[in-house]
Symmetry: C2
Subunit: 728 residues, 2 copies
């Protein structure tokens, strides 16, 4: 299996022209290529269709009707119309059917969430079966279709509206300092939300985070403000715990809707402890979570009695000399409530392990490692009880891809649907059917309906390639060796539009380089960015390589960067530069580099560590010194400034400001809550003090990334800088 | 007299080569030319000498001795040495004699202010006569040599230390919201301090300002902070009342040192009223001030009983259909305590008026307008009782100069010392002697000692020209007509170093353009800026013109800009551009513009109002929209946004962001408390929204201007931008 994958990768390394160029086709505008551009949707976004599951049945959601899909043929027939569904609702309340939900298998009930209420309509009788009011200021809504209880957050407090529409406050002292029901620990450790309904929807586990002891970052809004306010800029305080500093304290509460009572898990002193991956037992009597120490090198799977809040078991422990990073809650087998699976990287790659609880629930034992190999399980989509299998995505078939597989509890594995390209699947609640929306370097978008047991697929929709009308430059992928001399790294190379091999072109490296991300993959056009295409059209060679430290390549690949973020990554990027320089059509004296966030850190680091390599750099929203980054992400890779001062010093761009020699433009979101403006401003200050001259731009009011029309402006601005200083 | 002046101006308009160029001389570095540069002091700053008065006697202050000056010959002889003065002090307390003061005529007493105390030494006996402790955190110190009481401010509270060294708090509730003893009304209306000793030094008038109702501008410090603090950026709140918004409320208190008692003047509701130009009656029984309404078109000279705080008289009123701007407190004649002088622009130019108080002090009458003509009195230096004259500076002799004159109460006027160039004089307390430190286009620095009665001068020191070692470019001055077709405007033109009339050079306009400032004057090298010289050396023609609205040309000249700041000023600047384009050696396609503060507003306005004129602009610390500027300065010239919405709209650069076409770099101090960052950031936002592309730079931690090495970096950065986009 591993060999198969390697062969696939090797095939990719053979330069292959992906798109034939056609000089009578259109040239792109930046608006065609950048999300937010006025013509982006028609020019660059492959057409889509919207499907959902109603039990095991697949339905297509459309503006005016919901259609039932025949799984054998893919043919559709009207299930109900907008008119039918809207009949019991108020005039104008329902305007389309794209967001209809079908939580009750077998029952002809469609759930609609409108502004102001959630409504359940019987499309056969045309009756409003049930409805529930929604506070217009509600955030982080979490609805239990089972109990029809709704949890939501408003002004940092947690509320529950029950099925009868009665709303109760679970907390009342919420503030910027104490927040309830929101994602905690800055969304690290797989945390995406702050409320967790028990299987019956009557108990609500929730996070409470006290961040009163955390530093407040003074973000500033320049308005415009409403007419009854001063027009003077206003403070927007934001809690931001910086690496090595005092962190927030998290606890977990359980709210019993029927009893209207809250109690907290008896977790003890929460100082410097992370509580993640909350999971309910199938019977709702036990709550599981993973506790991680602040050093992030020791994780424990703990069980708590949901009624008493007392800890009942420490089931598993895991340590690592660098870090462990639990990202997935345990999941119980639907057909055996004593068995659960755990996703772990303990053998060096992310894989699925099957455990069995002791009868008393106080311990567990490993039954089987269900997957293994030098590839990674991405996500468990769910279970197929009828064949007792677990359905998941992985890059087993192609290191650059993501495909759907199932594995039985005996370890028997099979692919479901195509294994080429990159798949965004949705599994039906009963696990028998799979909606598979995918693309590949040559497939703009394909939607298939697959059967989990048979692994057979029925095509539902094929999108045409929107770039077929344009002069798309040639895109190549391949591998080169990392700086360690042995590891293969994937790159993507975009040749200038109307490429002439006898010419010398300037070349730009687009870099990210950080963990939990990759830039080169088997999605449409090898994941090329619209800006790459734009710059290729302006006469640049565009190059991207996923260095060691990036995702989906296993633990050792990722952890090569531990305590020295940027160092190994830069060495790998310089191998990419060597490769670029080896290309006869690349002008080695006109190399540029651009990246955002971690890529902004990489860009600034490259320009100041190897000041002669790149003539021009553009760093966006950069980390400048990991001392200004937050505790959870930062300390995982860097430990604390106290325990790793040399690592922080040697990777700090502040210390290298004097080395800056060539042109470096730094761009940041004026209200970036992730890489706070202090990063960029501290670097500017360090350069001024050192007598060097970076350039600067900011997007006032924007966060870590520019969206909409700002994103188009941003890429105009970046392009202009390369045109000013690299093109000629 | 007027004709004489005009002749002088006309002479200046004849292009004259000021400096012979010499190709075997050195070229400048930027460090030679910019204050803060490592070699600035030796390369660009004419040598200086330090003198002071001891009664009517002039003494020279030196490192190791104080010398008495013979007024007839200018010869010096040792008065006392550092060793003698330091004898009664602690080891190392006194390290030089440059800051010695001699407040007691006839007595051999030198006053030294050291860190920690103020000490009075008898240099003849070698004894410490008296000393007074100084709080190390004391700010805004105001010492009365008469009573030896010291007023100071600490943490916004006012304190007085008496002659016996006892300190009492005058206020205790000082905070960022309520400040005591500090300059108020944002230092407008001539306000430079917040404490005013009565003639006997026993009563202290002081300002109290309540700004709790004023908007807080959230300035942010990025550190570095001390080790016991978080390294997270910190809020630095600053009260900033924006035009048309709620302003602060000022009152005036009087603290009686002997009684340790404070009472406040009975001023009534202080809302939207300005209290300025505080002056004591010679007997200390009456306090005078000028009250101005918020619209700034009506001023009243009021008298208050110092003991009761009650208003005793409204002595004078002045109105104007645009604005009045009282800048100078009344001053009583030392030889007649019923008579005072008032400086006013009521006849269109700033002149001195002599008034007489009624016996009861309840009214006054004008005795005489002491000066008049189409020139301006700058400052009254003091009085010469022996000849009953008032000593002042004016530009009577030369519209570009500043010379010293005296006028008798009968109106007889005479010049004291040279009337050429620009004079920085100091008058002795008895008014008979004048220390005159001056320069002119051809004089680097001259220090003379003059007699007020005889008007004769004795030269004390002549500095050599530090630029004599360098290749100084040719500097010309002249006049052209303003856009009104009649008014003469003064310009300064700097030709490129090693000028070749057959070549075409790029040209840069340096602009300020706002009130209370001028750029072209009769100081050394016509007031040329070091950066002009630098850029001339880089091959640019440098041009500056003082448009209508600038200072020292009278009320009509200044008020031409009323309610439409920037409009007439730009028209005048465009006349300057026409003139530049008429020069055969100027490349009309390569024009640049640069300015700071009001000049940053002018630059941004020019680049967005006349987008085809300048290829490159650099705007520093700009006003972008007068709505973001403060109440006192802003409303004087613009009225309020409520009463002049069209004026605010039509002058707002935000509304013109879409017009930006060519290259515009905007630079701002990261913590600018004057033109707050909101100006620049709002413009950047407006440009992003409009799809235009300014460039940006900031100096984190700096205020409205860059000082020290930052100033050198700034000018490197500005120069680089012109080199990037204008030079070629």
């Amino acid at each position: 299996m591993v060999k198969k994958m390697l062969t696939a990768v090797l095939l990719c390394t053979v330069f292959a022209q992906i798109m034939a160029q056609n000089s009578d086709k259109k040239l792109f505008t930046l608006e065609d290529l950048i999300p937010g551009g006025g013509t982006y949707r028609q020019s660059s976004y492959p057409e889509n269709r919207y499907y959902a599951f109603w039990g095991e049945k697949c339905v297509e959601l459309d503006l005016g009707e919901v259609k039932a899909i025949d799984p054998a043929t893919g043919e559709s027939s009207t299930l109900f119309t907008l008119e039918q569904a809207a009949k019991p609702l108020q005039q104008g309340e329902l305007r389309h059917l794209y967001s209809a939900q079908f939580p009750y298998p077998g029952q002809p009930l469609a759930l609609f969430k409108q502004y102001g209420r959630r409504a359940l309509v019987d499309w056969q009788t045309g009756e409003l079966v049930w409805s529930q009011p929604i506070d217009t200021a509600a955030e982080s809504e979490d609805f239990s279709p089972k109990s029809r209880n709704l949890a939501f957050v408003k002004d940092h407090n947690l509320y529950v509206t029950d099925a009868d529409g009665k709303t109760r406050a679970v907390s009342t002292d919420g503030s910027i300092d104490i927040v309830y029901g929101e994602a905690v620990h800055r969304n690290e450790f797989g945390i995406e939300k702050g409320t967790f309904w028990s299987p019956d929807g009557q108990l609500l586990a929730f996070y409470r985070m006290d961040q009163s002891m955390v530093s407040t970052y003074p973000q500033v809004s320049i308005g415009p403000f409403s007419h009854d306010q001063s027009r003077c800029a206003q403070l927007v305080p934001d809690k931001y715990p910086m690496a090595g500093e005092t962190s927030h304290q998290v606890t977990v509460g359980i709210y019993d809707v029927k009893a209207d009572r809250t109690h907290y898990l008896q977790l003890g002193d929460p100082t410097d402890r992370y509580f993640t991956n909350i999971a309910w037992a199938p019977d709702g009597k036990t709550l599981y979570l993973i506790e991680l120490n602040r050093d992030q090198n020791h994780a424990q799977l703990l069980a708590f009695d949901a009624q008493s809040g007392q800890q009942t078991a420490k089931l598993l422990e895991q340590s690592d000399d660098k870090y462990v990073e639990p990202l997935h809650p345990i999941q119980f087998l639907p057909w055996d409530s004593q068995k659960f699976i755990l996703q772990s990287r303990q053998d060096g790659f992310s894989h699925i392990y099957l455990y069995e609880l002791a009868k008393n629930g106080r311990s567990c034992k490993l039954l089987k490692q269900l997957t293994q190999g030098e590839w990674e399980v991405f996500d468990v989509l769910g279970f197929c009880p009828s064949e007792k299998s677990i359905v998941f995505t992985s890059n087993e078939a192609d290191q650059l891809g993501c495909a759907v597989w199932s594995v039985s509890t005996s370890g028997k594995r099979k692919a479901i649907g195509s294994t080429s390209g990159w798949h965004y699947p949705t599994l039906s609640a009963d696990g028998t059917a799979l909606l598979d929306n995918w693309s590949s370097p040559t497939v703009a978008r394909q939607i298939d309906l697959a059967s989990t047991p048979s692994a057979k697929t029925t095509p539902l929709f094929t999108a045409s390639e929107p770039w077929d009308n344009f002069r798309v430059p040639e895109i190549k992928v391949g591998t080169i060796k990392a700086a360690d001399g042995t590891t293969d790294l994937h790159y993507r190379l975009v040749l200038p539009t109307d490429f002439d091999a006898t010419k010398k072109y300037p070349a730009i490296v687009y870099v990210y380089g950080g963990p939990h991300a990759h830039m080169v993959d088997a999605t449409r056009h090898w994941g090329v960015r619209g800006w790459d295409i734009w710059m290729a059209q302006q006469g640049y060679v565009m190059f991207t390589i996923d260095n060691r430290g990036s995702e989906h390549r296993g633990k050792a690949f990722e952890q090569a960067t531990f305590r020295r973020l940027g160092e190994e990554e830069m060495k790998d990027q310089l191998r990419g530069v060597d490769f670029l320089k080896s290309l006869p059509y690349v002008d080695a004296d006109r190399l540029g580099v651009h990246g955002w966030s971690f890529g902004g850190f990489m860009t600034t680091s490259l320009m100041t560590t190897y000041p002669d390599v790149f003539k021009v750099g553009v760093a966006g929203g950069p980390v400048i010194d990991w001392r200004f980054y937050e505790v959870m992400y930062g300390e995982r890779y860097m430990d604390t400034p106290q325990s790793n001062p040399d690592g922080y010093d040697s990777t700090s761009c502040l210390k290298k400001a004097a080395n800056l020699k060539n042109r470096l433009l730094i761009i940041y979101g004026g209200n970036d809550p992730t890489c706070v403006p202090q990063h960029t401003l501290s670097f500017i200050r360090a350069c001024i003090d050192a007598g060097t001259h970076p350039d600067l731009f900011t997007y006032p009011g924007d966060g870590h990334n520019m969206m909409g029309t700002d994103r188009v402006h941003l890429h105009e601005h970046i392009s202009r800088y390369f045109d000013d200083f690299l093109k000629k």
